[in-house]
């Protein structure tokens, strides 16, 4: 099988170091937010900011330990394959964007079209673009799955999904 394009290989030590830096920055921001929280109004109550500050401090302590640990590792030479992080950026972004597209488009085009579109669109490259059978399989799998979800969630359980096509055919 052809290797996937979009693969990125990164030095784990640098990725961890940057991750700890980002987490630390977020913690600092959240701590600043807690400084503006209102003081306690109830006798005995430590205040809305007490527990968040405690937890932020606890987490920050371990982030600092992690930063120091990874900084020490950066000084040493990398330790082979285990020191690499692999990420298929293209597929990761496709998965994320597919979810967001589904969330944005379902209210517009309806549950039926959005679900068939999402499932069929993700299945087709995995079954093989070039084969007509794959196109038929992708369509059948997605429509059948959509119908099962429609029947169980919308018809049987009455969950309120935005729908567009099927109610017309079902006389609803």
């Amino acid at each position: 099988m052809k290797a996937a394009s979009g693969n990125v290989t990164l030095d784990r030590r640098w990725v961890e170091f940057c991750a700890y830096l980002v987490i630390g920055a977020v913690l600092a921001f959240l701590f600043a937010v807690t400084l503006n929280m209102p003081p306690p109004f109830l006798p005995g109550y430590p205040g809305d900011s007490f527990f968040p500050q405690l937890v932020i401090g606890f987490t920050a302590l371990w982030v600092v330990i992690g930063l120091i640990s990874t900084a020490c590792q950066l000084i040493r030479p990398p330790a082979g394959e285990a020191a690499r992080v692999k990420l298929n950026v293209v597929e990761f972004l496709i998965a994320g964007l597919a979810c967001l597209a589904y969330a944005l488009l379902m209210p517009v085009v309806g549950f039926e079209i959005a679900s068939v579109g999402l499932l069929g669109g993700l299945l087709l490259p995995r079954l093989g673009w070039r084969s007509p059978r794959s196109w038929i399989k992708a369509l059948v799998y997605s429509v059948v799955t959509m119908l099962i979800l429609y029947g169980s969630l919308i018809l049987f359980l009455g969950v309120d999904f935005p729908v567009s096509l099927l109610p017309q055919y079902l006389g609803q």
Partner: protein, 509 residues
């Protein structure tokens, strides 16, 4: 007790009536299916089916819902085992060993262990509930805010068991989970970290956290990491199919699991009695205690029978435990219990201590009906386990899109709020990336569950005792549980030190 034996015949006849068995069977099937849907925990399953009880008699309604409740706990295990997607928060630890067993071609075995463990936990805890309902409820009443705070701390202390090799990353994950739990209402009138977003005012729903941090990354992994994976079974179709002999449970396996079932049943029943604790806490405590007692504790997470049996027994034992404060004291300890109580009150039955004296036939019917529901669940589950296990053999690159759709639809179905779907996507991407550097998601979820228990109960205890922390901490039950927590942390550190010194290097998380 004599009164119970007087009504035994009537209760047996009532439960074994064809119409009653049909209601129980319907409840079991509905519960398994709903519990398997991400976003549909036991409380949501009961809420959705609650209107159906309006046309049922009192006993039928209660037994139908109890069957749903019990079966939903097992139903949530099915996707947890087959596709590493917990159906309910209680299966957050089931994925650790259940999914590993599926990867080893032992999906049917895992489903059977889960089912049998759940049935044993359900039946055994029902018997305990029957013989000691009122007494146990009084124990549960002794758990005030200080004691609940200590229980939350104990829960945090055992989260260390899910850290993997890297303690630093484990604590960072725990901290992230605790911070996520502070978003939204403080419980004392304040709103934190909402940044004027309406969907953050109530905090993150547990369903969004569980799906986003546990199931979502698995969907991303199936889509991104296994985009081009060709399974061994596709290259060698003649080898497709599970090894039936390895999937069969022998007498030796049952003997081996017996201590696990006993321990975890007791844990689940006790946790169920405590208001607000729930299946997730029972599963975590059950798993952690099993890891402590097992001779193969350092192999947990690789697909061990007992590592799967423990949380599954505990979270099903919670069902009967939950009934204890609900029926004996009229105090519902969970959302699911509140719905059950709602049904009782709507039918004119008043839960409370008097109920055990005046409604003996009804109590006996519930007791026998719960046992019947578990037995029916055993039959239905065993009949379907080999069929359902086929899902575990679908190539990972193909099942990825189905898992993703199921998660998105399940998330939306929870509250029909599209913002939740966006949140799940964001959490899934976040947890997937963190997993690349071995920062585990399970401690995040568990800390998210424990965080409010710790904070709100500590705050309440301090308000009650006028900020006197010493008085709060030195109450007998509180002190005992805090002492246990400290011992657990020390034991965990010492044990990990021995493990690290004796094992070869492996990737953590």
């Amino acid at each position: 007790m004599d009164a119970y034996f007087m009504h035994l015949g009537d209760a047996v006849a009532g439960v074994l009536a064809p119409s009653m068995l049909l209601f129980i069977l319907a409840g079991v099937i509905a519960g398994i299916i709903l519990g398997a849907l991400p976003g549909f925990g036991s409380a949501q399953s009961l809420a959705v089916l609650f209107p159906l009880t309006f046309v049922m008699g009192t006993e039928e309604a209660i037994l139908f819902l109890l069957a749903v409740y019990s079966a939903a706990e097992y139903g949530g295990s099915i996707p947890a085992i087959l596709i590493r997607t917990p159906g309910t928060p209680a299966q957050s630890v089931t994925i650790l060993d259940g999914y590993e067993m599926t990867r080893k071609g032992l999906a049917t075995r895992a489903l059977r262990i889960s089912l049998i463990s759940g049935v044993i936990g359900g039946i055994a805890s029902t018997i305990i509930f029957f013989f000691s309902g009122t007494s146990l409820a009084l124990v549960g009443l002794k758990f005030g805010p200080g004691e609940m705070f200590a229980l939350g701390v104990f829960g945090l202390s055992i989260i260390g068991g899910f850290f993997g090799r890297n303690v630093t990353k484990g604590f960072v994950a725990t901290g992230i989970g605790l911070i996520l739990a502070t978003v939204g209402s403080s419980g004392f009138g304040g709103v934190r970290f909402a940044f004027e977003q309406p969907y953050l005012v109530d905090g993150f729903p547990i369903v969004v956290i569980v799906i986003g941090l546990l199931a979502g990354p698995e969907a991303f992994r199936l889509l991104a990491d296994h985009r081009h994976t060709v399974e061994h079974s596709e290259l060698h179709p003649e080898a497709q199919g599970e090894d039936a002999s390895r999937n069969r449970l022998t007498r030796a396996d049952y003997r081996h699991l017996l201590p696990t079932w006993v321990r975890s049943t007791l844990i689940g029943t006790v946790v169920g009695i405590i208001p607000g604790a729930g299946g997730a806490v029972a599963a975590v405590v059950g798993y952690s205690e099993e890891k402590r007692w097992s001779k193969r504790g350092n192999e947990f997470g690789t697909g061990l029978d007992e590592a799967l049996a423990a949380p599954e027994t505990a979270n099903n034992a919670v069902v009967a435990g939950t009934l204890v404060p609900t029926l004996a004291l009229g105090i519902p300890g969970s959302g699911a219990a509140a719905i059950l109580m709602g049904v009782l009150i709507s039918k004119g039955v008043a839960p409370g201590p008097i109920m055990f004296q005046t409604e003996t036939l009804f109590i006996l019917t519930i007791f026998l009906g719960l046992i019947a529901a578990n037995l029916i669940m055993l039959v239905v589950g065993l009949a379907g386990s080999r069929t359902v296990a086929v899902v575990g053999r679908i190539p990972r690159r193909i099942i990825g899109p189905f898992v993703l759709l199921m998660l998105l639809v399940g998330t939306y179905a929870y509250a029909t709020y599209m913002a939740h779907v966006v949140l799940v996507t964001a959490f899934a991407a976040f947890a997937y990336l963190l997993a690349k550097i071995d920062i585990p998601a399970v401690p995040m979820v568990l800390a998210f569950v424990m965080g409010p228990i710790i904070e709100q109960n500590l705050s309440r205890a301090l308000v009650i005792h006028g900020s006197d922390a010493m008085t709060v901490m030195t109450r007998p039950i509180t002190l005992t549980i805090l002492g246990l927590s400290l011992l657990t942390i020390i034991y965990g550190i010492v044990r990990r030190k021995h493990q690290v010194e004796s094992e070869p290097t492996e990737s953590g998380g």
